[in-house]
Amino acid sequence: MKFLFGVEAFCLACFVLLSQVSAKNSEDIRCKCICPPYREVEGQIYKQNVSLKDCNCLHVVEPMPVDGKDVEAYCLRCECKYEERSSGTIKVTIIIYLSILGLLLLYMVYLTLLEPMLKRRLFGHSQLIHSDDDVVGDQQPFANAHNVLSRSHSRPNMLNKVEHAQQRWRRQVQEQRKSVFDRHVVLS
């Protein structure tokens, strides 16, 4: 859990940094001029990769569809806007998002389909029933106290800690699921 959170935080940090550091791709700036219909000339959109100081009708509208004396009248109607974007940020964001989504999907498939199958094969049917009983919510008044005080007793083994944390998380999610989906007490 904390590991996953750490990974996510790291990804976020990378993403923020990348967005600042990514070089300005020349394709990422443009000047867009929209010119409405004028007399016989149809409406047209012109785009060019110019910088901010060159972003006006005279530099961008090429070829100019009207003759010399009409150019000014035509250009007056046009509206030119300078726009920038960061394609690197978009790419990195989509890749991060899809990878997190993919990981969650795999974990979901593992939790719902693979784990019960594996457990049943390794430990036999009786163990499965026993572990389900543990999941029932604690109703006795002192059980919560146990939780509070026993937090200090941690087992030194790393794998056991991960296992323990995962069990605790699954119990919490089960409780939440019961409140929201079954008893409709919260978030109805």
Binding site: E8, G43, V148, V180, H184
Partner: protein, 761 residues
């Protein structure tokens, strides 16, 4: 005062120095209310301790500096995280939304607009056609037009919408069931002092972020603003655990959460000031000046981060930028007020319908199949939305199109009639062309879109996926406003000799801007459903940049609030709070009844007598018996059964933790050990086991009122101080107890609602 190890008083016994605070005392159970007074006292105690040690050494001085600045640090981190997550959600949602339509072959990660960004094949009439963007029909069938490709596009749209919705609800169900819904009603309750463990946790944060994108991309009639507030509050909660000043104190944590919700609205709309006002008006319960500054700072940092990440270019700094500056006229106040009335009426209707539907989902068999329900709603939405171009597109884009006025540079379908109308003046040679098929087909489609959105939003808000309400309400209001605006425009065009129009409008000039009507309509509908006032106006003019139009906005919002309040005083969030039975004591309602404290207190005449503890008479076994037999959260401690004079108040959770701790740490505590709450142990026979001192968990200054205190004063005390319970005395002797739940039940009873619907303590 209740003490957690205070050592400054001069009458402390030697043993008090050796007594360390028992770990776990002072924490709260899930679904319980916090005691604001106790939390604030704990914080002041901690602050005093740090300040008194400040002058001792440089290390203590830096510790005190760190303590003072930790608040700003938490808020900065929250703002950074909220901004980053909002940027991620925006980019991913835009991309996935367009995935229903097609793909960009040259760069798969671009959505439609970005794909055609550099292309030169876009024309004036068709601004979004370019060869790099291929619709699904083009990819699969090879042809872009024709009935076959329409059907293929239709089918692929429905397929993607359903798969996104299914994925979203499965992820929510498997990983974080608390991630569904809007989040704002629960956050309001949490900020008023309720504890919902896990609601603002890491898994909820991650799942809410991921599934919000999926839910928005599936085309459902929902928005992402409410869930973004939840996401920001999760970030605030997670960062507050890094600093003991906030992690150990529930009242201080709620200051951070208020600031975080301001950051959430700030990134949702790009409206920092609106975010602060939203936190003040809608979400927070207590909002002292310190929280105002922190919220301001959080909103600022979040807006800054979002703007610096901003990948879409300068065209998207303001969400729905309004570029026109045409003035509005006095006679237009009439349609604006009519739009306000519509907003209020729709708001009242929506609240009633949505609550009725949610109640049905909660209590009947409908609620047993959440996944099926989501798929069904998504299927119906996709099937009905595709044929109408206004509902097929992204709702934010629809709002943007509706807000934009028709100028010579616009080419949307809404403006085709306009160019035909103006054809007589400048652009074409045929002056006698009337305005027809364009405007009628646009109005028809808009009307159908309006009805569709009104119906679908009722069923979508409250689904088991993250769902917000702001954007659908604004869309409904914008559609209604635009229809009214176009109607007014046609009226002004065809009847320009009427008195009203002759005064202000010239022939051929645009005096009616339908885009403005859309904006006013959006504000009115959002105000009608949430009953916000100032924060809504500020958010809308920060969204659009239309500062000239504040007065029409205010007029419409006030009208919609008045009309909505005529039908029911609650907004949608308060209605959901009441539906769920959360213990939320609304600060906006007035208590006007003349009952007294003794009418509300427990025990009533038919109840068993008050469960009390005596200060030095009980044994451990008897104490455990009292705790096991009753389910009360706390017990008053009295001097003796004869005198019934009050000593203090002890909480159930603290007692159980203290007894467990004593049995573990101290030897000789047995079932018949005496328990005493006094300073010195009572005199006991020589062979009795070691007594147990529980003075440290006793609250020595519980709040008391007399039995003749009017209930309006009691309710005021509960609201202003944030109490959880209050003891009732008569002639100095303990008579009963009033808890927050009793007050809520009493208020429900007075308002003829069901008092049994108040569920939590």
């Amino acid at each position: 005062m209740s003490n957690g190890g205070g050592a400054a008083s001069s009458t402390t016994h030697l043993l008090d120095f050796l007594e360390e605070p028992i770990p776990g005392v002072g924490t709260y159970d899930d679904f319980h209310t916090i005691d604001w007074v106790r939390e604030k006292c704990k914080d002041r105690e901690r602050h005093r301790k740090i300040n008194s040690k400040k002058k001792e050494s440089a290390w203590e001085f830096t510790k005190s500096l760190y303590d003072a600045w930790s608040g700003w640090l938490v808020v900065t981190l929250t703002g950074l995280a909220s901004g980053a997550l909002a940027g991620l959600i925006d980019i991913a949602a835009d991309w996935m939304n367009d995935l229903k339509e097609g793909v960009c072959l040259s760069a798969m990660w671009f959505n439609h607009e970005q794909c055609c960004w550099t292309s030169n094949e876009t024309t004036f009439a068709e601004r979004d056609k370019c060869p790099q963007w291929k619709s699904w029909a083009e990819l699969i069938l090879g042809q872009a037009e024709g009935p076959g490709s329409y059907i293929m596009n239709y089918f692929m749209y429905i397929y993607w919408a359903l798969s996104f919705a299914l994925l979203a609800v499965c992820l929510v169900k498997v990983f974080a069931p608390y991630a569904c819904g809007s989040g704002i009603p629960e956050i309001k309750t949490i900020l008023s002092g309720f504890i919902i463990r896990g609601y603002l946790g890491k898994w909820t944060l991650m799942i809410k972020t991921i599934t919000l994108v999926l839910a928005v991309a599936s085309g459902l009639s929902l928005g992402k603003e409410g869930p973004l507030v939840h996401v920001a509050c999760c970030c605030g909660n997670i960062f507050s655990y890094l600093f003991p000043k906030y992690s150990k104190n529930e009242a201080k944590k709620r200051e951070v959460l208020s600031a975080a919700s301001a950051a959430g609205v700030s990134v949702a709309f790009g409206a920092p000031i609106g975010g602060v006002l939203f936190s003040l008006e809608e979400v927070s319960y207590y909002f002292p000046l310190k929280t105002l500054w922190r919220s301001f700072f959080a909103a600022l940092v979040a807006a800054f981060v979002l703007r610096s990440i901003n990948p879409f270019g300068n065209s998207r700094l303001v969400l729905f930028y309004v570029e026109y500056h045409t003035p509005w006229y006095l006679f237009e106040l009439i349609p604006f007020i009519l739009l306000g009335v519509f907003g209020g009426l729709w708001g009242a209707f929506f609240i009633r319908a949505n609550i009725a539907w949610c109640r049905r989902r909660k209590s009947t068999r409908f609620g047993k199949y959440p996944v099926l329900e989501v798929i069904l709603v998504a299927a119906i939405t996709a099937v009905v939305a595709f044929p109408n171009p206004y509902t097929r597109q992204n709702t934010s884009e629809l709002i943007k199109e509706l807000f934009t006025d028709c100028g010579p540079l616009e080419s949307s379908q809404l403006c085709q009639y306009r160019s035909q109308m103006n054809g007589s003046t400048a652009y074409t040679d045929d002056p006698n062309q009337p305005a027809e098929p364009g405007v009628y087909s646009a109005m028809w489609q808009l009307c159908l879109a309006l009805i569709f959105k009104i119906i679908m939003t009722i069923f979508t808000f409250g689904l088991k996926v993250p769902s917000g309400l702001f954007i659908p309400s604004m869309a409904i209001g914008a559609i209604a406003g635009r229809i009214v605006g176009i109607a007014m425009e046609q009226l002004a065009y065809y009847h320009h000799d009427w008195f009203l129009f002759k005064e202000w409008c010239e022939v051929g000039a645009d005096c009616i801007t339908p885009g403005l009507y859309a904006m006013v309509g959006a504000a009115a509908c959002l105000g009608g459903v949430t009953r916000m006032t100032v924060s809504l106006v500020v958010i809308v003019f920060e969204l659009t940049g239309g500062l000239e139009y504040i007065v029409p906005l205010m007029a419409a919002v006030m009208t919609s609030k008045w009309v909505g309040d005529a039908f029911g005083r609650e907004g949608i969030y308060e209605a959901h709070i009441r539906l769920n039975g959360y213990p939320f004591l609304d600060a906006k309602e007035e208590f006007t009844h003349t009952t007294l404290a003794r009418d509300v207190m427990r025990p009533r005449s038919s109840d068993p007598p008050l469960a009390v503890l005596t200060q030095d008479d009980l044994t451990v076994e008897e104490l455990q018996g009292v705790i096991n037999e009753t389910s009360y959260n706390g017990f008053p401690v009295i001097v003796s059964k004869e005198s019934q004079r009050l000593v203090g108040f002890a909480l159930r959770r603290d007692i159980t933790i203290a007894i467990e701790n004593a049995r573990r740490k101290q030897e000789g505590i047995m079932l018949n050990s005496r328990v005493y709450f006094t300073q010195h142990a009572p005199t006991l026979p020589a062979d009795s086991p070691r007594p147990l001192k529980l003075r440290s968990i006793l609250d020595m200054s519980p709040f008391t009122v007399t039995d003749h205190t009017p209930m309006e004063i009691v309710v005021d005390i509960f609201r202003k101080l944030g109490l959880r319970q209050c003891l009732v005395t008569h002639n100095g002797r303990l008579l009963g107890i009033i808890t927050k739940k009793d007050i809520l039940r009493h208020m429900a009873q007075m308002a003829n609602q069901d008092p049994e619907s108040i569920m939590f303590n």
